[in-house]
């Protein structure tokens, strides 16, 4: 899907692919980002246990009209 490619490209850019000065800092922060990503993977099981059932139905019924 084109959208997926776009998301991936953006993520890579965000990961600091550009070279040049400050490379070391970027490598360092990227490895920090990787470490953080690992942290996120740890809680996916817990998320499964609290997610509402029937995602499609739930999302479809979430409509907010009026406000401000």
């Amino acid at each position: 899907m084109p959208q997926e490619q776009e998301q991936k490209r953006i993520q890579k850019k965000g990961g600091g692919e550009e070279g040049g000065e400050g490379d070391a800092g970027q490598v360092q922060s990227t490895s920090k980002a990787e470490e953080l990503k690992g942290e996120m993977d740890e809680i996916l099981d817990e998320i499964d246990s609290v997610l509402e059932e029937n995602a499609e139905e739930f999302i479809k019924s979430y409509v907010q009209k009026g406000g401000e």
């Binding site: 998301q7 953006i10 993520q11 990961g15 953080l36 995602a55 409509v63």
Partner: protein, 494 residues
């Protein structure tokens, strides 16, 4: 010289029902609030001082006000912490009491979430079996409908409104890189609704104008509502409607803290001209740029990234704080602001502990990868929504917080205290303590007055037009000496 920034937030919460086909969000919001009010006495909100259609630019109101919600008998209460909790159209809305620092604001903004959570628990005791209400602190239903999280700042009436428009607009457009709460999907009228792209901001899609009075259609970056809720000759209340509802304490802190310093610099004419060529287009572009590298065109022809525009503000703010306003609170805001900008420049996705949009993106990305889901999968939409669920045992932000995966700024104990107690150092102290001490004698209340019924023929109105008067320091002794409202009024009028 700039005036102190008294601040507050108003949050409209999303509300939905499970197992109730004839769900009415207006009545359910009302029931939610009145159930919470329970033992608390319902106090009529005094609308006399309110005129939401008055315009800061001096325009006359152009349309009549809709019937006040209270005419329909909907819940509208003031809480002992000085907050207002009421029905706004089809949402429960929580307005924090006036706060004197961004940290205090974070405590009270979070206390609002606890009030909603407690209301929900109470409500579920009285709902028919099988029915359940869900509450979300977000700003969009993903179907083109938005509800607001508004920030309020006390500003000097003497500051020309045009200066606020000129100097605040580039700031609001660029601050999304740290204030965004993240959103899966596109809802701008011109965009493709089926495009499942991730954005920094929940709200950017809904803004179409640079300046204006509206809050529900053709929303403007700078809102001109002019209801100071204070001495109108001295003050404005700047009503910032463009922000996202943040779960992250760091994001809320920065959102209010940096904007307050920028407003002080505007009052003192301390800022360079950063006028953008097309602020509305830039707003949408920044929200869609996860790498935070998009170049935005300024009116003078320069091209700067959002983070570079933020550095311009921060550089000036450093000098300003050093020369004009050197307080520990300000220094802390500057330090955190700098840390976040540095990380946004080198690696935005490293900010998952600090920023909502990064945390949520990480969550979605990890989940998607594990299960091999397409971005269009409804499960991902559900994760986006449930990140904002205010239940501490089910909300995904709260599950992350419980396992130490997000940075906190304040303690649960402070938040708990703020559910029942007002801030010490604004007029909210007087309001909240009066509600707690003399509930039977209060006929009405508003942001800038209390009306007492002390049994005399006439009601007694106590004006509170100075947001920094009525603090603990000013009135605690007085309140201690007044066993009832009649003696309080006597003491105040002596």
């Amino acid at each position: 010289m700039a005036i102190p920034k008294v601040i507050g937030t108003e949050t409209e919460y999303g509300i939905s029902a499970v197992g109730a086909p004839d769900f009415n969000p207006v009545l359910s919001s009302s029931l939610l609030i009145s159930t919470y009010a329970g033992a608390l006495r319902r106090i009529r909100w005094d609308y006399e001082q309110e005129s939401p259609l008055r315009d800061a630019r001096g325009f006359e109101p152009v349309q009549v006000r809709e019937p006040a919600e209270e005419d329909l008998g909907l819940a509208n209460v003031i809480l002992p912490n000085g907050a207002r909790y009421y029905v706004d159209h089809a949402h429960p809305e929580y307005s924090t009491p006036e706060c004197a620092s961004p940290r205090q604001l974070v405590v009270h903004d979070k206390a609002g979430e606890r009030v909603l959570e407690r209301s929900l628990i109470e409500l579920h005791h009285v709902l028919p079996p099988g029915q359940r209400i869900a509450i979300y602190k977000n700003n969009s239903d993903g179907k083109g409908n938005s509800y607001g999280t508004h920030e309020n700042f006390l500003v000097d009436r003497g500051t020309p409104f045009g200066n606020i428009v000129r100097d605040l607009t580039p700031f609001l457009v660029s601050r999304q890189i740290y204030t965004g709460a993240g959103k899966l999907g596109a809802e701008a009228p011109w965009d493709d609704r089926d495009r499942h792209r991730y954005q920094l901001s929940q709200r950017a899609d809904f803004f179409e104008a640079e300046v204006g009075l509206e809050t529900t259609l053709k929303r403007p970056i700078i809102n001109t509502r002019d209801e100071p809720h204070a001495d109108p000759d001295k003050y404005r209340r700047l009503h910032v409607i463009i922000g996202d509802a943040n779960m992250s304490e760091v994001a809320t802190y920065l959102k209010l803290g940096t904007t307050a310093i920028v407003l002080k610099m505007i009052e003192d004419e301390y800022l360079p001209d950063l006028t953008m060529a097309n602020p509305v287009a830039a707003l949408h572009e920044v929200s869609r740029d996860l790498s935070c590298t998009a170049q935005l065109r300024l009116a003078d022809g320069r091209r700067l990234k959002a983070v570079e525009i933020q550095w311009e503000y921060l550089e000036r703010a450093r000098k300003y704080v050093e020369q004009e306003d050197d307080t520990p609170d300000n220094r802390d805001v500057l330090q955190r602001w700098e840390n976040v900008l540095s990380a946004l420049e080198s690696d935005p996705l490293s900010l998952q502990r600090e920023l909502d949009w990064v945390a949520k993106y990480r969550l979605l990305e990890s989940y998607r990868e594990r299960d091999g889901l397409a971005w269009s999968d409804p499960k991902l939409r559900l994760i986006d929504l449930q990140y904002h669920d205010i239940r501490t045992d089910k909300g995904l932000y709260y599950r992350m917080a419980a396992t130490g995966k997000v940075d906190r700024l304040v303690s649960d104990q402070e938040i708990e205290q703020a559910v029942m107690e007002p801030p010490d150092d604004t007029r909210a102290y007087f309001r909240g303590r009066c509600i707690a001490r003399y509930p039977d004698a209060i006929a009405a209340a508003s942001w800038d007055s209390m009306i007492f019924d002390t049994g005399k023929e006439a009601l007694q109105r106590i004006p509170m037009r100075e947001p920094l008067r009525g603090t603990r320091e000013h009135v605690a002794g007085l309140l201690d000496r007044a066993p009832d409202a009649a003696s309080l009024v006597d003491l105040l009028q002596a």
